[in-house]
């Protein structure tokens, strides 16, 4: 089958550093300090979201009310990407893949129920408290697939709609499959991405149980003993190159290849070997720079560092400045790679472990080493200068 070239024509990026391409370029190319909230969820620091002018992307108050912060963030960032691609007129046949966790619970109600029922576990009383306490529409704000549903409703994206679940892997596979479908000619334009809000006790509770969250004051990624969550959303508008060129769209970067796998991680070196096997397919000729998806989880940090050593390319670790964004991380990192390629330069170091410069930035590798499972790579390159630019 003849594969079509796929390009990135829009990015929608929100992190603690701000929103949009310019804000991120300005902060990250010059070098910046992280925005951290060390007190609200102490002893666990988080990178909070910036204030969003929701009305700009979600004009109806009724739509805003039907969502909680996670869905609002994702819907907002999806709109930024569509605007960035100048693709408002193309939404009807735009395909959509979202990587999602779940929406917010009613934490006050949960704590009230816990206080009354944790000892007795009284099921009948639990029913009564939930049936009278839960807001009817909260369910829709919690359902994983309703981030995509809201993107369809608010922005009119209706070509198709799929939601992948499974932390970092879900996001990498969302990008991989969106890319593969365009490359094989299933549609001309797609929107793909994910979002996560870090200012949520229910997520801190979940992730605390694994290898853990970094505890105590902010430390750079390479000096953490676990994850520091960062609210973020990354959305990408992908297009076949011929479609983008035919409509005169600005091309930020070419998305050459995306690959994923899941090592069982039962023996040391498993994840490193898995990523190396992907590299042979994704970037056999080497790369000029790497945007690392390192999460902060210690065990997998060493596996990724071993992989990176052999690449011999400058590395940047965004999680050091913006935290780990789980389902939002991989697409946000792909967006950052596209941003760097479009500006023709790599970002300033983000972490004490970041070294090296890339004077001639042509090919950028994005890595994903999931906090528990999942290895993924994406290769982006500077767009070729054929056609009307």
């Amino acid at each position: 089958m003849n594969r079509k070239s796929v390009v990135i024509t829009g990015i929608g990026l929100v992190t603690a550093l701000g929103e949009g391409a310019d804000a991120h370029w300005d902060a990250l190319s010059a070098g910046t300090q992280p925005v951290v909230d060390e007190t609200t969820y102490a002893p666990w620091p988080v990178h909070p979201l910036p204030a969003l002018a929701l009305d700009k992307q979600i004009p109806k108050k009724g739509d805003q009310r039907q969502m909680e912060p996670w869905q609002r963030l994702g819907t907002y960032a999806a709109g930024l990407a569509i605007d960035d691609a100048d693709a408002r007129g193309l939404v009807e046949d735009m395909h959509l893949i979202v990587a999602a966790g779940g929406g917010e619970r009613d934490l006050a109600l949960d704590e009230q129920v816990n206080a009354e029922l944790a000892e007795s576990g009284d099921g009948a009383r639990l029913n009564e408290m939930l049936a009278t306490g839960l807001r009817p529409t909260l369910f829709l704000a919690q359902l994983s697939n309703l981030l995509a549903g809201n993107i369809s409703i608010v922005h009119g994206v209706t070509g198709s709609s799929r939601t992948f679940m499974g932390e970092e892997s879900a996001a990498a596979d969302a990008v991989r499959i969106a890319h593969a479908r365009l490359a094989e000619g299933r549609g001309e334009i797609a929107l793909v991405g994910g979002a996560m809000t870090a200012q949520r006790w229910d997520l801190l509770l979940l992730y605390r149980g694994g290898e853990g969250l970094h505890q105590g004051p902010y430390r750079p990624l390479s000096e953490r003993d676990g994850m520091t969550l960062g609210g973020m959303a990354g959305f990408l508008v992908l297009e076949t190159e011929e479609h983008a060129r035919a409509r005169g769209a600005r091309i930020l970067a070419q998305l050459d290849a995306v690959a994923s796998t899941a090592a069982r991680r039962t023996v040391a070196g498993d994840a490193t070997a898995a990523a190396k096997s992907l590299l042979a397919a994704v970037a056999p000729e080497g790369v000029d720079a790497v945007i690392s998806g390192a999460t902060g989880v210690r065990g997998i940090w060493g596996e990724e560092q071993a992989f990176l050593r052999d690449l011999n390319a400058p590395v940047r670790h965004p999680a050091s400045l913006i935290g780990h964004g789980v389902e939002g991380a991989f697409p946000a990192h792909v967006a950052l790679a596209a941003l760097a390629l479009s500006r023709g330069a790599l970002f300033a170091p983000m972490d004490p472990a970041d070294a090296g410069e890339a004077p001639d930035l042509r090919r950028v590798l994005v890595t994903g080493f999931g906090q528990w499972r999942g290895e993924a790579l994406a290769l982006l390159s500077r767009p070729t200068l054929t056609g009307a630019e």
Partner: protein, 416 residues
Amino acid sequence: MRDHLGRPLVAVTGIGAVTSLGFGVADNWSRLLAGQSGIRRITRFPTDHLKTAIAGTVDLPGGEGFTSPVRVERMAAMVMEEAIAEAAIGAAGNFPGPLFLGMPPVEIEWPVRFDLARRAHDPSYAGMTKQAERRADIYETYLYGGVGERLAARFGTRGAPISVTTACATGATAIQLGAEAIQRGECDACIALGADGSVHAESLIRFSLLSALSTRDDDPTKASRPFEKNRAGFVMSEGAAALVLENYETARARGATILGLVAGAGERADNFHRTRSNPDGRAIVGAMRNALADAGLEPADISYVNAHGTGTPENDKMETFGMRAVFGEDAPPISSNKSMIGHTLSAAGALEAVFSLLTIRDGRLPPTINHDEPDPSITLDVVPNVARDAAVRHVLSNSFGFGGQNVCLVLSGEPA
């Protein structure tokens, strides 16, 4: 052998099913053809203060204390075992292709919250979070990727498992993802499944608060009434179904028995409302037409439709509208498995694909039971109450989800 778009044909070589009617494909199919209902009073947890006290639960051996992700994983494993055994592919723990898993969202549930709060002597999230240190059991059970990873490890599937949700269309989306992977040459075999085990008090209350559920508690087997005049909501159910999908040529070459084909799939998202279709029917009509076009078929080629047919007033009205828009006056018979097994949510699209293949194999249309009083606005042949014989070559299977995610599949018999 290639399809009309030059893609490899996608064969189904193994299927597995579990529902409230029973364990295994054979038992389920014979009960469906007999018009039996699996809906009953809930005994898993107290139903005081609940508007709905019935469901199509799957009662797993020793599973009284299981939370949803554990039930999902158990049922998924059962149907994968059955499907892989039938396909006779790979070796134990070494399935030669990827996993596409349709499943519901997961989150920490009440037993865990109560346990953490008790241990912490603190009902707050801060207290529970402190207490969760080194609780890898909680973390791995309630991670979104947990169920898929454990199934992938157990069955030795290849690559990263894909877990997907499109609400009530989830099972169909999983099959579509698998079919696409074969069509684009990523693999020659894969396993696609849908599983759901969400019947617990909070989920029941959430659906109740959306007024989506039947409340006919005194007569459980009569509660699910798709296309019937007195329908008043769906019945929440559990179940799972798996399909081994293969490149038709490589399946034939290894001597596999071909159960049928996934001949096409179509999607259309709705942008009208979170729980309702656009009254113009554009998205569901678009999904049905896209599936036919993807399969290279005309409406007249379809001899039976496996309905989404939830039994909510809204769905069945819109599905009827869509049927008339696509098929006109000559609409084929349509029946709803949900009249017997309830709405298995994330599993529904996969279960209904399995039953569609059996419909083709046996030339027998499963009925829509509880069809006591026809709805004058629904003029379709819904195969009322009793199964009947029919020669069926191509089935359209509809799945329409909350959130506007609509997926239709075309299942076909083996090429002559």
